[in-house]
Symmetry: C2
Subunit: 193 residues, 2 copies
């Protein structure tokens, strides 16, 4: 029953299934067969399109990072002032598309993958650098020389809130996560003297 032009559809289905499977299992120790079954195909086909399990994981990770980037860009698109752009980056980081149970769990696992797989490591570094650079850029006019430090702190705090959400039971509380990070930002933006 070969429909032509199946490749992109199959690849997308596998990426989606990978995130779901890893997220649900809470572990990278999932089999290609499990992923393939969830994506509605044989494991042989998964290997046919991706070549190896490693490549499947990398594609899934790229997908997560791409989605994340898109959500931040989306949030940024309506913001004009430095402060509103800053807040857009933060709230974009917790957009409902990314801040989901399985996505967070998959994210955590990909973090671990980056310890082993150089390409995964590279991907994560690119994301981190871009985030920090964006934050720094908007922070400069607001906190001057402290921009670098605040950008790093914000980045770390976002990661921390993420992984804590991975461990919490029940659905991740978006408003609550946002509140923690926003309050940090508020403190830093307060005029002091």
């Amino acid at each position: 029953m070969p429909k032509l032009g199946a490749e992109p559809i199959r690849r997308a289905a596998l990426v989606k299934a990978t995130i779901e499977t890893v997220g649900e299992a809470g572990s990278l120790e999932v089999t290609v067969a499990q992923i393939a079954r969830r994506a509605g195909m044989s494991s042989a086909l998964a290997h046919h399109y991706f070549g190896s399990k490693e490549q499947i994981f990398l594609a899934a990770m790229r997908s997560i990072l791409t989605l994340y980037g898109a959500e931040v860009r989306g949030a940024l698109s309506t913001a004009t002032t430095a402060e509103s752009r800053l807040r857009a980056i933060v709230s974009g980081s917790f957009a409902p598309g990314s801040f989901r149970r399985e996505t967070i769990s998959a994210w955590l696992n990909f973090y671990v993958l980056a310890q082993t797989l150089p390409e995964a490591h590279r991907l994560l570094r690119v994301y981190q650098r871009r985030l920090r650079s964006n934050l720094r850029h908007e922070l400069r006019p607001l906190v001057g020389a402290r921009a670098e430090a605040v950008a790093r702190g914000l980045g770390a705090l976002i990661d921390g809130v993420y992984i804590r959400a991975a461990l919490a039971d029940g659905a991740p509380d978006r408003a609550y996560a946002l509140k923690i990070v926003t309050e940090y930002l508020d403190r830093e933006l307060e005029v002091r003297g």
Copy 2:
């Protein structure tokens, strides 16, 4: 060559080897044989003392959390005022005994383990609750009603700084990690009006 009273020595050696092996591999996908070899014994003996790989991991995780707790308590022992105690908890969190490359990497992996293993989950929750409760207690006289929120923020930030250190290349920079968290604390402790 059976030396008597070997059990506690063997167990300790296995726990140490587990942390090192997981830390170096950057993954939980290490074999019992690898761990046992590093600890200088056969894999059969590792199974003899721990029963299963799962139990070995749990013992290693308990060890990490115990060490962490001890370092925080140690730092606390010399502090008297609320603020100095608060700072002791923070700097204790980055004590050189805990804030090591392999320990951090192992920590991250155990975080993942907590997604799968209920007992690991429980252990992590106990640690988180205790940390938050300690922080809240010292924060109360300093920031009043904000104590709860600040305690949560600090906890998340510490975790975030930890996992970022796991990804950084080179030795983890203790002073730098401490600086990020300390500055957060400084902002929160500033008198505002």
